[in-house]
């Protein structure tokens, strides 16, 4: 099962990073969201995977690591706040710049020779 889990985490990371490197704000936000899934799963799994072992006292005496869970719980909520913030930032940028390129210009920085020459 750990193997399946690791493949999922790796794939989510890869998809997230690929989208993160795109040039449109909305795509980047999608990428960050995917990446945050991967990060949360990763952090959660660093405490080890367990079945039927919720960290509620009075159960069968076997407990999943509650610390990583608490960590991830706050990470999820903060993640939402940050996603919301950059999303709104992207909207403002689009409204003010007239495009939704991450650099605020529809010109691609990497490929303008005069920019490189500076």
């Amino acid at each position: 099962m750990e193997g399946v889990y690791a493949v999922c985490v790796g794939l989510l990371t890869a998809c997230g990073i690929f989208l993160l490197l795109r040039r449109r704000t909305y795509t980047v936000v999608l990428g960050i969201t995917l990446l945050s899934y991967a990060v949360n799963l990763f952090l959660f799994a660093s405490g080890g995977l367990k079945l039927n072992a919720a960290a509620i006292l009075g159960g069968n005496g076997d407990f999943a690591d509650p610390l990583t869970q608490a960590l991830v719980l706050t990470a999820i909520v903060i993640g939402f706040a940050m996603t919301a913030f950059i999303m709104v930032l992207a909207m403002v940028a689009r409204a003010e710049m007239g495009n939704d390129h991450v650099d605020g210009t529809d010109v691609d920085h990497e490929r303008t020779p005069e920019k490189e020459a500076q």
Binding site: A14, I17, P66
Partner: protein, 934 residues
């Protein structure tokens, strides 16, 4: 006198930096007198220790600062420190007197004295520090205060540029010195100077010795203007002359020499030491003496002469014989005395005649005979004429050069070069006297020269008197001091040496004679030499230095332009690359990813869910240009993630992920309304290939890392929380207890961030210029039928139930899955649903909640519940809980953590709704119907 008075030697001048700033309003003389009081007191304190120092019982005074890092405030006074402290304070006091008459009425005297005394403090700190880091700190302070002093006439471009150059060179050397000192600390295991001085053999045998030596020497050579770093010193002559007399002849440039002498027991004695230090000294000696001859500027001549004499001292220290070290210390004293007086004399000439150009200055003997006499004595000392102090140390120097050194059969070169250097020294000394005081009449001077004010000559007279007294009665004047200082440099038995004028007819005397005759010969034929020299174009070091700085800045700028090109894509790329490098490097050291833990069997349903997760993630990527579809795919992935949490025993996480997923998707849907509905096609296939490669590598690394982590048994501190959750936090849901109790402070910080983010978003939205599309991606106008009847009715029925659920989830949170975060999100979703189903107007009419106030209330409650524990004498955020019995309800528990959780609950609702409701209202109040596509 207790040794703790050592601290006062440094602290008194430090306090003294403030005195002139206050005293300058009382007039120049009062200001100078007031400024002198504290350094004079410090000088008396130093002299108190004379007996101790002569008796070879050094004093140490320490105060703990950061003992765990080996950092202590620690001072140490031995012979070398005593000698330097005397020079610094003694000449410092003379310079204060001299500057009283040198500075004009326009110069801000208070500021000048303040800088000067600050420099004095720094120098005293350098020579008295008993801790390497402390020494370095004072060392840097000398660079900074020197910068302030050189640029004192900041309206002059040459002053500013000279100051910048001096700071850049000595500052860079200071950084090298820090690195060297840190390395010594590593090798020896202590930053305590005495420990280091006692571990010389250890350092010299260490592999890092060449590096340490190189770094320390960089610091010393830049400070003491040794070749090839000598060029800053002549440009520092733009400083007022009292500064040149003090810093650039007597003290600061000697700091490098001091460093060599201080670390002499640690670093000296190797072949490398001789070659680097000795040859650098020799080169500097010759180059300085030769260049000095051609300088028309009085101070320029003295500056190069200083470089040359510093080279001489360096060469002596490089020879590493006990006698050479004694000679070096002796020459430090002598040079400080005669060079300071010469600088002061040059300042007087400049002050009273208006120029320093020796081509104009001639025949001043007729105008200022008294000053001329003083200058002549000092010059004779500089030239090494018998009966003056410079002669004695020069004789010792000559005697030392005759010892066969490490150059083997070429060792004869050293005395020859030394004699040549001495001859040049005689030549420029003669020029200084003959060209200025005789040699015809002055040529169109700006002022008619005359003798300076009486007291301006007093410092020169004192120093010149010392030149003569030391020259005639060396043993009486400096015998004890020299012995004590030399002792602390070589740290073994002092060699036999005699401080007398007459040693009989010996080779050193012949060399002196040759130097004097040679010098006179060179000066007499100077015309030929000047013509020869004129063929070489003079290099403007200031311009070249600035060219170098500009080139360096250009390189830095290009690097920065590549990294920081204003493109987020570049930054993201660099971040990903850095993460890959940092993660991959340690992972390659891991032999195999699979750990020792027994693996869980693969559950087919879970495998199918995993497969779905992968498919939805891939679909998000593949379909990312169709934004709505990609968003739906993303939401599938999010749902499966929450299922995964649920499956792997994390019910709280599953609930949180599920609710956050809902609000996130609603948010992204709302945002999509304001953004293009599709993404244009990427034009560069190479970039796609590159990013795919990077993403695959990063994903592979993270997956491997995760696998390696999961399959190993790791020591976790989780057991502590499990064991103490009930007894310490009063709850059985360990995750919730961690959030509201064990790590409550983290949670408080987190909801604060949430609140700030919500307020920030509100700020952005409220000032957003609207960009509202009239049509959707397919060109259809937005529907006017916004609120379907069925949805509206069902939602209204659902609201109280959803609220009930959220209260239930909240209340049970301490013991069962749930808690403030989840309950807050459920409430927020329930209200959000009303917005979606019934419209903004409908909700606003019925629900008047001020979201910002709600965030504030929530944070206030959370903070209050934490502060509350103070009233019971407990640390911040300590939980209190107890059990109560009510009729009907039965036994139940009350915990203060629930109050905290209530704060969390309110903050989450407030923040979530503030973000989403405001975003939603934005599109409805300004319905995009008539404006058309913008």
């Amino acid at each position: 006198m207790s040794s703790s008075a050592l601290l006062w030697i440094v602290v008194l001048p430090l306090l003294g930096t403030l005195v002139p700033l206050v005293a300058q309003r009382w007039g120049k003389t009062a200001c100078a007198v007031a400024t002198a009081i504290l350094p004079a007191t410090a000088l008396l304190l130093v002299l108190q220790f004379h007996a101790d120092v002569v008796a070879q019982t050094p004093l140490t005074a320490s105060w703990h600062w950061i003992p765990s890092l080996g950092l202590n405030l620690s001072f140490h006074l031995d012979g070398l420190g005593f000698l330097f402290a005397l020079l610094i304070l003694g000449i410092g006091l003379l310079v204060i007197l001299y500057a009283r008459y040198y500075l004009s009425d326009e110069d801000p005297m208070g500021r000048f004295y303040a800088y000067l005394i600050l420099f004095m403090t720094a120098m005293l700190g350098v020579v008295l520090s008993n801790n390497l880091i402390q020494l370095w700190m004072f060392w840097e302070l000398t660079s900074v205060s020197s910068f302030l002093l050189i640029s004192f006439w900041s309206h002059r471009s040459d002053a500013r540029r000279g100051a910048r150059m001096a700071l850049a060179i000595t500052g860079a050397g200071g950084l090298a010195l820090l690195a060297g000192l840190l390395l010594i600390g590593q090798v020896v295991g202590s930053f305590d100077l005495q420990t280091v001085l006692a571990s010389g053999a250890l350092v010299r045998a260490h592999d890092a010795y060449p590096v340490i030596l190189g770094l320390i020497l960089l610091g010393a050579f830049t400070k003491s203007a040794q070749f090839p770093f000598h060029f800053w010193l002549p440009h520092a002559m733009a400083a007022p002359t009292p500064v040149s007399a003090y810093l650039h002849s007597a003290t600061m440039v000697k700091a490098g020499i001091f460093l060599l002498a201080r670390f002499f027991p640690v670093l000296a004695g190797t072949e490398m030491w001789f070659l680097v230090v000795g040859l650098t000294g020799l080169a500097t000696l010759l180059l300085g003496a030769y260049t000095a001859l051609f300088k028309h500027d009085l101070k320029g001549l003295l500056a190069y002469s200083t470089i040359s004499h510093l080279g001489l001292i360096t060469l002596l220290l490089g020879m590493h014989s006990e006698l050479a070290a004694v000679a070096a210390v002796f020459h430090i004293i002598n040079h400080a005395v005669f060079k300071a007086s010469l600088f002061m004399a040059a300042g007087i000439i400049d002050h009273e005649s208006g120029t320093r150009d020796m081509r104009k200055l001639n025949g001043l003997w007729n105008y200022m005979p008294h000053t001329a006499t003083l200058a002549m004595v000092a010059s004779a000392s500089m030239a090494g004429i018998p009966l003056f102090n410079g002669f004695l140390s020069k004789e010792m120097f000559f005697a030392e050069t005759l010892h066969p050194g490490a150059l083997g059969s070429l060792s004869w070169m050293i005395p020859v070069f030394a004699t040549v250097g001495a001859a040049l020294s005689v030549a420029y000394s003669v020029r200084f006297i003959h060209d200025v005081f005789f040699n015809g009449e002055p040529i169109d001077l700006p002022k008619t020269p005359h003798e300076p004010p009486r007291y301006m000559k007093v410092p020169v007279e004192i120093l010149v008197a010392l030149c003569i007294l030391v020259g005639i009665f060396p043993e009486f004047m400096v015998g004890e001091l020299l012995a004590a200082a030399s002792q602390s440099v070589i740290r073994t038995e002092l060699p036999e040496y005699g401080l007398s004028i007459w040693h009989g007819f010996n080779l050193p005397l012949m060399m002196s004679l040759a130097a004097v005759i040679g010098g006179a010969f060179i000066y007499y034929h100077r015309g030929t030499l000047f013509q020869l020299q004129a063929q070489f174009p003079e290099r403007d070091m200031k311009a070249e230095f600035e060219k170098g700085v500009v080139a360096l800045l250009g390189v830095a700028h290009r690097i920065m332009a590549w990294i920081d090109n204003g493109s987020l894509q570049r930054y993201s790329l660099l971040l990903v690359l850095a993460a890959i490098v940092m993660l991959a490097a340690p992972l390659t050291g891991l032999v195999r990813a699979l750990g020792d833990k027994s693996l869980m069997p693969v559950d087919p349903f879970a495998a199918i869910a995993g497969f779905l997760l992968c498919v939805s993630a891939l679909a998000t990527v593949v379909l990312h240009r169709q934004r709505l579809v990609a968003l739906l795919m993303l939401s599938v992935a999010g749902l499966i993630v929450s299922m995964a949490f649920s499956y792997f025993s994390a019910p709280d996480l599953a609930l949180t992920q599920l609710t956050v997923e809902v609000v996130t998707i609603v948010l992204l849907l709302l945002a999509l309304f304001f953004l293009p509905q599709s993404t244009p096609k990427e034009t560069d296939p190479r970039r796609i290939a590159r990013d795919l490669g990077l993403a695959a590598i990063a994903g592979g690394i993270i997956g491997t890392l995760s696998y390696a982590l999961m399959t190993r048994s790791l020591d976790s501190i989780a057991d502590y929380f499990v064991a103490n959750s009930k007894t310490g936090g009063g709850g059985t849901n360990v995750v919730n207890v961690i959030l509201v109790d064990f790590r409550g402070f983290d949670t408080l910080g987190e909801i604060t961030v949430l609140g700030i983010a919500a307020l920030g978003i509100f700020g952005l939205i409220s000032r957003m210029p609207l960009y509202l599309p009239a049509r959707d991606a397919f060109g259809n106008r937005w529907s006017n039928d916004v609120h379907p009847m069925m949805l509206g009715m069902v939602s209204r029925w659902l609201l109280p139930m959803a609220l009930l659920v959220s209260v239930f989830i909240f209340l049970r949170g301490h013991n069962q899955p749930g808690g403030g975060f989840i309950a807050g999100l459920i409430t927020a979703i329930a209200i959000l649903q009303q917005y979606i189903a019934n419209g903004v107007e409908w909700v606003r009419g019925r629900l008047r909640i001020h979201y910002a106030a709600m965030i504030g209330t929530g944070l206030g409650i959370a903070l209050f519940s934490g502060v509350g524990s103070w009233f019971f004498g407990r640390p911040f955020l300590t939980t209190w809980f107890d059990y109560f019995s009510w009729p009907v309800v039965g036994k139940f528990e009350l915990a203060s953590a629930m109050v905290f959780d209530l704060g969390v609950y309110l903050t989450v609702i407030g923040a979530t709704l503030m973000i989403l409701a405001n975003l939603g209202e934005l599109s409805t109040r300004h319905r995009p119907d008539s404006r058309g596509e913008s």
